[in-house]
Symmetry: C2
Subunit: 121 residues, 2 copies
Amino acid sequence: MISKRLSELRKKKKWPLQYIADQLNIAKSTYAGYESGYRQPSLEAVKELAQLFETSTDYLLGAADSPEKPDFHTIELTETAMLAHICFTIDGKPLTADDLNQMIAFIRVKREMDSTQTHHQ
Amino acid sequence: MISKRLSELRKKKKWPLQYIADQLNIAKSTYAGYESGYRQPSLEAVKELAQLFETSTDYLLGAADSPEKPDFHTIELTETAMLAHICFTIDGKPLTADDLNQMIAFIRVKREMDSTQTHHQ
DNA sequence: TAAGTTGTTCGCGAATCGCGAATATACGAT
DNA sequence: ATCGTATATTCGCGATTCGCGAACAACTTA
């Protein structure tokens, strides 16, 4: 499992084996063993690899399906794919899809008004 | 690191060693070794332990500080503490605090109208 | 061709694992 | 107090796995 994840991520980053080996202070052959499945990285190495690849250990170990860190630093409210997994609430009551659409329209109008009518600056 | 996390979580759940050992199909002494730091669990065991404790491997390995699974199923928009770590965008442009407050007010008004004026059903 | 980079595999010594056994501790029930 | 049971901790053993360098293949570039 982890071997697949590692080779997939490294190819995406287009890094050579040696680069990762240097970052973790291990031999090239050692890391190569991780990708080939010949060896398993130590827990500490897994942690460092997740950090290096900017993903989670859950993804590396196959406990998560998405490589994205669940930081949710930014949530694009018009991205319905993402919203399918999130439930927004106000005062504890969930927003309907309709609520959300109206909110989006509301903000768009607000922005429109700000940009065409008033020009603070 | 992981030993601390394991014993902390197990104590919180008030589970005996044997119970966990049974769940993972390993010897009691094997799991005891994990908690004492005498041994390290395999990657597969880490994955299963995270599942058993309903937490993330990131937390077990010390790559995350919170034991909570990052599911974020629900986001309460009036909870400013949570919102401090999230940036919402519409059409790629981030919402200001003002935008958010108006959106919340907007929804509250909408709900008010729905409940006092119109009664479908 | 020669030199360099990258990826793969192998064997060796060393380190670690998983297990059962032995021991220690806690706590009711008799 | 004395069992009996459940729980926790540590140890040694055999087996497994690790990390490393070495060796090699494939490929690019000079």
